[in-house]
Symmetry: C2
Subunit: 450 residues, 2 copies
């Protein structure tokens, strides 16, 4: 694949061309580069350089570049423009979902000012509404650019209207059919319109089975529906079923990847959205919180162990198996919470019906706990561990796995019910607590039996 | 959103209708349901029931249902048919990528037999080639159904050809333009064809900037390119740049989600692709391997600790901080390997240039190690720990974090270089080794300083 790869040499040459204001070299280069590539280059430029390059791009490419920038770079870049210029040079030409994404990064008052400079009143209204929807909702993901035809029209009228509307719509994908109250009633493919005679009516060729979502539906719902039914665009309706926008698959792909990366980072104990290519101090800062929580957990465990100092001195074997119990409890807890988190994310389970899920978790944990425990007993007999130690370790092991698994499954379900991101359950706080819980059970049982 | 939700009541009613062979109820029900929903129901049916329901569907819906089934259900379902029936009733009507996916699940000889029954020689050849590509490659993801026009044609000829070709192509999306040697030279949108006059030539309206990939490019490359450039279809060419297929975004979405789930499950210690809704024994089996490896790690750590029994008895404080050192080494290792794994997956880093990456990891780990170590020293002074213990713990902590981080970053890079899935580095074996390494360092330093 011959896609663009940004190298340090390229950046150096490029900034040099900017310094020399070398239009003859820059213009063809910018023509050739895709907006997404120019956005990558923007990351490396300072504000003056970026504004200069933007001034060389035509409107449509300029807004494509802007839409591809990382949020922090977008905000930084806007500092080079007045509110009026932002409205007229950028927002006016952007797809409404991209425009809304950018505007929500700014202060509300700044966003309102920018919107007030837009020449078109309808656009002002639509955008003002769009930026109110939560980012993770159909309303927050949708764009207003789409093509609609009325059910009573004939094919000729449709093609004419598409000709008019299509200027603003980058990719047509699907033509939506609405009734006279603008309610969504179906869709018709461009293919079908092309293949039909001019005087055929839309109502005779349209397809009335159309998936749609409501503006308040969640991003996860949208993603799962589009994935399950292989949709490349999903129309969005308001509470009265009037067509207000569409969500396209490219935005859903971005959304899905961001969600997956967020969950993955939580599970691996990283608190910010970082990449391997970020700077050292950014990486440090993102990783420190988990380490500090782990440290507090470790210090707490030292206090727990200290509380059982006498038992350990009486029976030093007890110390040998602390790591085993802690690790096993920790592992079992992470396993069960991550299965539940993933199930909630892909909607294969819901936050209701908690009891049967916990009972299932109990069964799984009991089976695995007993198998592991049997292995410990076999090992103990094999190398001739003192029987009482073997007994304490094997009982604590079952108990630690059982409790950690059930806590691991319960917490994401509870978080979901209180509308908190269940993936937090795989984060440092819960896993560290699980480690400690295992240790505590171990010493408790040791204290009782030894 | 009004999407179908499979309930137990529905399944019971449905199987009852099958038992009664109640065509009057079943036919309209099947008409109404989407193929993806029928596929969900198939999961719950036995072979006879499934074959009966399939016999009620028309060819196009039947193959859509088949394509949506889980791989194991597909294989089970095919047991109800002869090779000839599979070829004529299913494979013949399927998109070639779906057909290839199903055929690769079967024995090579069975697949070859099925292909030999296809009536069309070209299709036989194309499919035979398609099933040879690795699943995770452009060739393995692509389908042969696409619309091409020649660069010398005019718009009228194009529309005629689209009329002919479009029957086999579910979604047109993009019309590809090839030269007389079938080499890909560009594309033209349906929108543009509609908006152009009949006698305009393709060469005057087509767009020659077209992204493409080669059949042997990896699935990750395809996914990243389509995501970066917001593509809904990517044409695939052979080594002589002849157009041989296209990859559509719906397949890439599935691919991305599967990859993300695989990585997530490895990180959480789950060895098979399971869902929260799977049966208890399936969940147990998927989770047992990590627990057993953890158990072996725990037993090994008990031996390590046992080797330092005298030190512990001489200075029982040493036992208190074992969990702290182990957990911190483990956490730091998981953090650094998961960042590298994610970087490799989204191509923000590559498997080359290992040294600078390790040096960066060294810097991050050094900063975080020193901060954590400072916190331990402050804690030790605050509660009046013996100074030598504080010293041992704080030095071991820096060492454990440093070593675990560098091992954590190094292993996925090495795996990638040897073309093994780098995500394995976040699996149980490495993380357990990291725990042990920390423990060993701790006692070594303790032995030297106490």
């Amino acid at each position: 694949m011959q896609t663009f790869q940004l190298t340090r040499e390229f950046t150096e040459q490029f900034t040099q061309l900017i310094e020399q204001r070398d239009l003859e070299a820059l213009r063809p280069l910018l023509d050739e580069l895709h907006a997404a590539d120019i956005a990558e280059i923007f990351d490396e430029l300072n504000l003056d350089e970026a504004v200069y390059i933007a001034s060389l791009l035509d409107n449509s490419k300029k807004v494509d570049v802007l839409a591809e920038l990382e949020p922090d770079v977008q905000v930084r870049f806007f500092k080079g423009y007045t509110a009026e210029a932002i409205a007229l040079e950028f927002v006016q030409h952007m797809d409404s979902d991209d425009a809304a994404d950018v505007l929500t990064l700014l202060d509300r008052s700044v966003a309102a000012e920018i919107i007030s400079y837009l020449p078109n009143k309808d656009e002002q209204q639509y955008l003002s509404k769009l930026i109110e929807y939560p980012e993770n909702s159909a309303g927050g993901l949708m764009t207003g650019e789409l093509i609609t035809v009325k059910i009573g029209w004939n094919v000729r009228r449709c093609i004419e209207e598409i000709r008019n509307q299509a200027e603003n719509v980058e990719r047509v994908l699907t033509v939506y059919v609405v009734d006279k109250h603008d309610k969504l009633v179906g869709w018709v493919s461009l293919k079908k319109l092309i293949l039909s005679k001019d005087d055929v009516l839309v109502e005779d060729i349209y397809d009335s089975t159309v998936f749609s979502a409501e503006v308040h539906d969640s991003g996860e719902d949208i993603a799962q529906t589009m994935k399950k039914y292989d949709l490349i665009a999903l129309p969005i309706v308001d509470s009265r079923h009037r067509l207000v926008g569409r969500v396209t698959i490219d935005d859903v792909v971005d959304f899905m990847q961001e969600e997956a990366e967020k969950d993955y980072q939580l599970l691996s104990g990283i608190s910010e959205n970082v990449e391997a290519s970020d700077k050292v101090w950014v990486l440090s800062r993102a990783r420190l919180p988990w380490l500090v929580i782990g440290l507090m957990g470790g210090i707490t465990s030292s206090l727990v162990i200290g509380g059982f100092e006498e038992e350990i001195q009486r029976n030093v074997h007890l110390a040998f198996f602390m790591p085993l119990i802690m690790a096993m409890g920790g592992n079992a807890g992470v396993q069960s919470s991550s299965i539940v988190v993933q199930g909630l994310a892909n909607l294969s389970i819901d936050g209701q019906n908690i009891l049967p899920r916990i009972l299932k978790e109990f069964s799984v944990a009991m089976i695995n706990g007993l198998i592991c425990s049997a292995l410990v007993i076999a090992y103990g007999l094999l190398i001739g561990l003192p029987h009482d130690i073997t007994l304490v370790v094997s009982i604590s092991l079952v108990a630690a796995i059982l409790i950690a698994s059930m806590v691991g499954a319960l917490i994401p379900l509870l978080l979901e019910r209180f509308e908190i991101d269940p993936a937090l359950a795989t984060g440092p706080f819960i896993t560290t607590s699980n480690d400690l819980l295992g240790l505590f059970i171990y010493f408790l049982i040791g204290n009782m039996l030894l």
